[in-house]
Amino acid sequence: MSTERTDPLVIARTVRSDGLTVVRQAAPAGSAGFAATYVGPSGWAYDPAGREGTAVLASLLAPSAAGRRDRVTLARELDRLGGSVHRHCAPETNEVAVTGPAAELRALLGILGDVVLRPRFESDDLERVRRQVLERQLREATQPGHRAERELLHAVFPSGHPYRASGLGTRRTVRAVRRTDVVRFHREQTSTAGGFVVLTTSRPLSEVERLVARAFDGFPRERPVRAEPSPRASPRSSVTRVVPMAGRSQTEIRVGGLAIPRADPQYPALYLANEVLGGRSLLNRLFQHVRERRGLAYHASSDLDAMRWGGYWTAQAGTGPERADKVVRLVAAEVRAIAERPIGSSELDRIRESAIGEIPLQLETAGDAHELAVDAAYHGLPDQHWREWPSTLRAISPKAIRVATGPVYDADRAVTVVAGPESVRD
C-alpha cells in the first residue's frame, strides 16, 4: 500500500481537464469522521465596486436554501446525517466545508455540492444575513480588539488593497447589495477553474474523484475573464494610532507590518521567527516577557498571516490602560530584537522541536488533519510537504532566520495601534 493511502501527512491530487483540483488526504487512523472543503477563488478581493460586502454575504448565505432544499429542510437533513456545514470568507477565497460521520460521506458531499453550486439566495435569507453583517460592522468598530486589528490593516495596506478590508463593506455598500448582485457574483466567481475540492477520508483517490464528480455535477467550467486585483503594497514609515474607546475596561495593542507570501522560500524561516516572537504557545518571548516575568497582561502573542499575494505580521497584547505604555514599549523591543539579534541556538532548538513535536496533535481528528491538507493544496505546496516539514525546519539556521526577519520585522516601519479606554495615554 502506497504511503499516501494511509498517511495523513501526504496528499494526493489530480487536476481535472476542467481545471478543478481534487485532493485526497487519508483520515487519521481510528477516525470516525471525514471532512471536505471546496475552496473557490471568490473572496472579497473580487467584490464589485460600490457593493463591498457581497462576497461575505454570499458566504453567509451558503448554508441557506440550496438545490431542492429550503433552509430549514437543509438544516434538518444535516442534523439527521450528523453533519455540519462551515464557511469562511477571506480576501482571496471563499471556503465551504462539510464534516460528519464517515458513513455519511456520500450524502453529505452531495449537500456540499448543492450548497456550492446551487444556492438559492432567497430574498428573505439575504435580508437576514444583511442585518447580521450590519451588526458585525458595528462589532468591528466598537470592540477594542477588532477595532485595533482594523486600524492596523488600514495603516499597513494602501486603499484598494484586498487585505486592507475586513470584507464586511460599509453600511452604505452592504445596503446597496441586491439579490441580483449576489447571484451575479456567485455565477461569475464559482467555476472549476482555480477551484479545489479537498477530502479527508479513508477512501482511495479514485473513489474520491468519482464522489466529487457526482456531487459537483454541473460545475461551470469557464470563469469569465476578470482583472486580478493588484495587491501591491509597499512598506511605509513607522506610525502610531491611538483609538480612544470610552467605557471599555481593557486596552488592546497591535503592532504589525508587511510580510511575505506563503509560497515564498523564506516562509519556513519566518515561520520559526514568529514562533519565537509570539507564536509558540507559552514558550514564546512575548508571553514570557510580558506576562510570565512581569505580569503585565493576560494575552501577549504574535501571528504571521502569509497568503498567496502577500502577507502581514502582527504582535498583540491586551492590558489595563494604566499599563498600556509599558506593554507597547516591551512589544516594540521584542520585535526589534527578533529583527536585529540572532536567536540563540538553544532557544531555536526548543521552539523548532516543539513545532515538530506537535504534528501528532494535528492528527487527532479528521477535521484537525484536514486543515493541513487544505493549506497544502491551496498554496501549491508539494504533496509530501507536511511529511517533510520536520526536515525543512531542522535545515533552517539562525543566520537564515536573520536574513528573513530583517526586512520584515522592521521597527522603523512598524505600525502601532492602541485601542481602549480614553485614559489610555497622556
Binding site: 470516525a32 439527521r80 450528523g82 447580521q132 514558550l283 503585565l296 494575552h299 492528527l363
Partner: protein, 439 residues
C-alpha cells in the same frame, strides 16, 4: 439505536486508596495521549472575600511545584509538541495536557506533583494578580459577559452561583497569598479529584504508573459539597446596563433543575427545541459546535422575522439548581421591547402547547447523532469522561442520554410550564451607548 457513550469511550474506572478516581480510556490508534485532572472545586466553593480563588489557584498551578520550578511545567509539555491549559467553572476546575503518545509520562508526573504540593509563592501570587485583573478586564469589554454576570447576580442572592468564576474585582484586588494557600490546601487533593487518561497507551502499564505516582499522595481534600440552598424566587427581577456595544442585548433566565433532578432530561429537550442544540451531546471539541439553528423556535421567531441577529437558549445543568437562559441580540434599529415580547411569546407557546411530534423527533436525532460523534480524538475523550464524572456517578452519561431520548411531548410542556411560570424570571437589558460611524 444510539451507541452507549460508555461503550464508545471504553474506559476503565477505579479508585485509589487515597480517594482519587481514575478513568483510563486507551485508544490504540491514537497518536496522542491526553491527561485530564478534574477537581470538584469551583466558584461554588468560594465565599465573599475569596471569590475567584478557584480560578486564581488554576493560574498558580502553572507557577511552580517541588519538581517543576516556575515555567518548567509549560516547557516540559510544549517542548515535546504538547499543549496544556486549564479552566474554571462554577462546579469544577479542570487541567489538561495532550502530548505525543510516547510522552505520556510528562503530564502524569506534573499532575501528581502539583495535586497537593503546588508552591503558591507570595511573589508569584502577586505577579499573577495583574494577569487575572487583565483577564477579567478583557472579558468586561464584551457586553455579553457583563449581561451574563449581572443575570446571575440578579438570580441568586445566597447561593455562590451569584458570582462569576473569575471573581469579583474587589476580591481580585484584596485576596492575600495566605488566603489563597489556605483555599488550595483545604480543597485540592485526591479525594476531590478525577484523573482521566485517554489516547494511545498500554493500559496495564499506565495503570501501574498511576497507582505508583498518584497512590503516594496523601488522602486530602475536604468535602466540596455546597449545602447553601437558594430560596425559591418570589417575583420577577430585572436590570438595565448601559455601555459600549453594537445593538441592544437581552438576557433572560429562569430557575432550572440541577443535574441529578429527574426534571433535567425534559429541560434538556426543551433547550434543543428552543435553541437548536444541547451542548451536552454534540459533535466537536469541548462544548461542541456552535452556530445557527434555523429550525429552532427562537431562531424562527426572532432572527427570521428581523427582530434579532442572534437568538438562542442554553441549559447547562449544574450540580445545584441554576438557570435556563435565553439571549438575543437585537437587529439594528429594533427596539428591545419588541425582542422581549417575542421571547415571552415563544416561551409562553411552548409552555402551553409543548413541542410538535416533528420537533421531538428532530431533538432525538440531534442528540443521538451528537452522542455518536462526541468521542473523536484523545482530547475530546478526556474532556467528556471527566466532565460527566464531575457531575454524576459512573454510568451517569449513558443514563442521562437514555432518559433524554425517552422524554415525551407532555413532559416537555410540563417542564416548560414549570420553568417559565410567572414570577421566576430574571432579565437584563444591555443598552449600548453612543454609536460608531461605520461608513
Amino acid at each position: 439505536m444510539a451507541r452507549s457513550p460508555r461503550a464508545v469511550s471504553g474506559a476503565k474506572r477505579f479508585r485509589l486508596p487515597n480517594g482519587l478516581d481514575v478513568l483510563l480510556a486507551p485508544r490504540p490508534d491514537s497518536p496522542t495521549a491526553s491527561v485530564w485532572v478534574w477537581y470538584r472545586v469551583g466558584s461554588k466553593n468560594e465565599w465573599p472575600g475569596v471569590t475567584g480563588a478557584s480560578h486564581w489557584v488554576e493560574h498558580m498551578l502553572f507557577q511552580g511545584s517541588p519538581k517543576y520550578a516556575k515555567g518548567e511545567i509549560d516547557r516540559a509539555v510544549v517542548e515535546v509538541g504538547g499543549t496544556l491549559n486549564a479552566f474554571t467553572d462554577t462546579d469544577f476546575t479542570a487541567y489538561f495536557a495532550t502530548v505525543p503518545r510516547e510522552k505520556l509520562a510528562i503530564p502524569l508526573g506534573i499532575e501528581a506533583d502539583r495535586m497537593t504540593r503546588a508552591l503558591l509563592a507570595d511573589a508569584e501570587v502577586e505577579r499573577e494578580r495583574t494577569v487575572i485583573r487583565s483577564e477579567r478586564e478583557g472579558d468586561e469589554n464584551w457586553p455579553e459577559y457583563r449581561a451574563d454576570e449581572e443575570l446571575y447576580q440578579l438570580a441568586f442572592r445566597h447561593h455562590p452561583y451569584r458570582w462569576d468564576p473569575l471573581g469579583r474585582k474587589e476580591d481580585i484586588r484584596s485576596l492575600t497569598p495566605v488566603a489563597l494557600r489556605d483555599y488550595y490546601r483545604r480543597f485540592y487533593g485526591p479525594k476531590n479529584a478525577v484523573l482521566v487518561v485517554a489516547g494511545g497507551f498500554p493500559r496495564a502499564e499506565v495503570e501501574r504508573t498511576v497507582r505508583r505516582t498518584f497512590g503516594r499522595l496523601p488522602a486530602v481534600g475536604v468535602d466540596p459539597m455546597v449545602r447553601e440552598v437558594e430560596p425559591e424566587p418570589n417575583g420577577d427581577r430585572s436590570s438595565t446596563l448601559r455601555g459600549p456595544g453594537t445593538t441592544p442585548l437581552l438576557a433572560v433566565g429562569w430557575r432550572a433543575p440541577a443535574i441529578d433532578d429527574p426534571a433535567t432530561p425534559s429541560a434538556v429537550v426543551l433547550d434543543v427545541v428552543l435553541g437548536g442544540e444541547t451542548r451536552l451531546f454534540s459533535a466537536g471539541a469541548s462544548w461542541g459546535r456552535s452556530g445557527e439553528h434555523p429550525s429552532s423556535r427562537l431562531y424562527r421567531a426572532l432572527v427570521d422575522t428581523g427582530l434579532a441577529v442572534r437568538a438562542t437558549s442554553e441549559f447547562r445543568p449544574r450540580m445545584h439548581p441554576s438557570l435556563f437562559t435565553v439571549s438575543a441580540q437585537a437587529a439594528p434599529s429594533v427596539d428591545l421591547g419588541r425582542v422581549e415580547a417575542a421571547v415571552t411569546k415563544v416561551v409562553g407557546g411552548i409552555a402551553r402547547e409543548g413541542p410538535t411530534a416533528s420537533e421531538l423527533a428532530d431533538v432525538r436525532t440531534k442528540v443521538r447523532r451528537g452522542a455518536e460523534l462526541a468521542y473523536e480524538g484523545a482530547s475530546r475523550v478526556g474532556f467528556r469522561l471527566g466532565y460527566f464524572a464531575m457531575l454524576g456517578p459512573p454510568g451517569f452519561e449513558s443514563r442521562l442520554l437514555r432518559a433524554i431520548l425517552r422524554v415525551r411531548r407532555a413532559e416537555v410542556r410540563a417542564r416548560a410550564a414549570a420553568i417559565f411560570a410567572t414570577g421566576r424570571r430574571v432579565m437584563v437589558r444591555y443598552e449600548p451607548t453612543g454609536g460608531p460611524d461605520v461608513d
